[in-house]
């Protein structure tokens, strides 16, 4: 999919440039953009280092564990068929907290563990259970407290207030996650 979209952007762009008489400018833009991409990448090193350093402190202090205990009651309301205190519930809450803190590298192994634990509870072994589907959908809506990468890109683009989108992002991501849960509950009857 990515292959096709990327191909269309470049080949389509050059084809159109013939008709619009922008062939030369388009070639120039390709070189200019490549140069800009590298400058941007170098600019990101500092901000990435800052956040990854902070995140390592959060990991080592057991913050993920501490927060996971707090959201377990909320998860119990959404995942009624998963027993409270089961390893599946524990792995799911740790994964969701790691996602919220922007710990992508920590979140993925926890998510895979949660899927394996949910699979043990799955009675129909031919397809994923409703709990597995719902957990995946919540993951794809990623509720993240501080969208660090976006803030890094904005400050690299000389924004006067790179973090001003934290509030709007939080509301939008809650809308997306809620919609995901509602659609999952509606659609599960048809599959």
């Amino acid at each position: 999919m990515v292959n096709i979209v990327w191909l269309i952007l470049i080949v389509g762009g050059f084809l159109v440039s013939v008709f619009t008489g922008q062939v030369e400018q388009t070639s120039q833009s390709a070189f200019g953009s490549a140069k800009y991409a590298v400058e941007l990448g170098i600019g990101l090193i500092g901000i990435y280092s800052l956040w990854l350093g902070l995140m390592r402190v959060a990991e080592k202090s057991g913050l993920v564990n501490a927060f996971s205990k707090k959201i377990a009651p909320v998860l119990r309301l959404i995942f009624r068929e998963v027993p409270a205190g089961s390893p599946a519930m524990g792995a799911m809450s740790m994964n969701i907290i790691a996602n919220m803190l922007g710990l992508g590298n920590a979140a993925t192994p926890l998510g895979i563990k949660a899927m394996k634990e949910l699979e043990k509870l799955n009675r129909n072994k031919k397809s994923p259970s409703d709990a597995m589907c719902l957990f995946l959908i919540i993951n794809t809506a990623s509720v993240q407290l501080i969208p660090t990468t976006v803030i890094a890109l904005r400050s690299a683009a000389a924004s006067s207030d790179p973090a001003e989108i934290v509030g709007t992002t939080l509301i939008a991501t809650i809308c997306a996650a809620t919609a995901g849960i509602v659609f999952a509950k509606l659609l599960k009857r048809y599959y």
Binding site: A172, A179, K188
Partner: protein, 178 residues
């Protein structure tokens, strides 16, 4: 409500940093050493996404300069007007569920072309932060337990993404003005 959102944005980062370091100190983590250890990964992370940034920023640059973007925008304006999503954001909407690094490249290009402190820049930033790489997440997690059947996961995940996109535009219009 709007003041709360803006206040939240202003204090989120300082509170977050102080809390993480304070909690780490309280739990007897050697905060400085731990920070250095994590910060070493910054260079690798930036280097790892560099090829993706080059690929997507060049592709969007070519597509825009050639006039193809204007063509696409014009052709799709009935749909985008109906959804209320500015057509400049379409490439981001299309790429976001497929590739995180590629959509990061698109966001970078949008921020450069339109500016980070414009409606397009703010809405694009909010979209990027409020959604995930749905196809990637689904394939990794379902693959880990050996299922090919995705049931309704992709449908609901993509509908959630679409909700996030529309919500981003609406919320940014309310908070920052058009």
């Amino acid at each position: 409500m709007i003041e709360i959102l803006q206040g939240l944005s202003r204090f989120a980062i300082p509170v977050f940093i102080v809390f993480i370091l304070g909690y780490g100190f309280f739990k007897r983590v050697p905060v400085y050493e731990a920070f250095i250890e994590g910060a070493k990964e910054g260079l690798n992370t930036a280097v790892r996404i560099l090829p993706y940034l080059v690929a997507m920023i060049v592709a969007i640059g070519v597509f825009r300069t050639s006039g193809a973007m204007e063509l696409l925008t014009y052709a799709l304006s009935p749909v985008t007007n109906w959804l209320g999503v500015p057509s400049e954001l379409l490439p981001l909407v299309i790429m976001r569920p497929m590739s995180g690094s590629a959509s990061l490249g698109i966001l970078a290009e949008l921020l450069k072309t339109h500016g980070a402190d414009t409606f397009i820049g703010r809405a694009a930033s909010t979209m990027m932060g409020s959604t995930e790489t749905t196809f990637y997440t689904v394939s990794i997690y379902l693959g880990s337990v050996g299922y090919k059947d995705t049931r309704y996961v992709l449908a609901a995940g993509l509908l959630a993404d679409l909700t996030g996109f529309i919500a981003s535009v609406v919320i940014c219009a309310i908070v920052f003005g058009n």
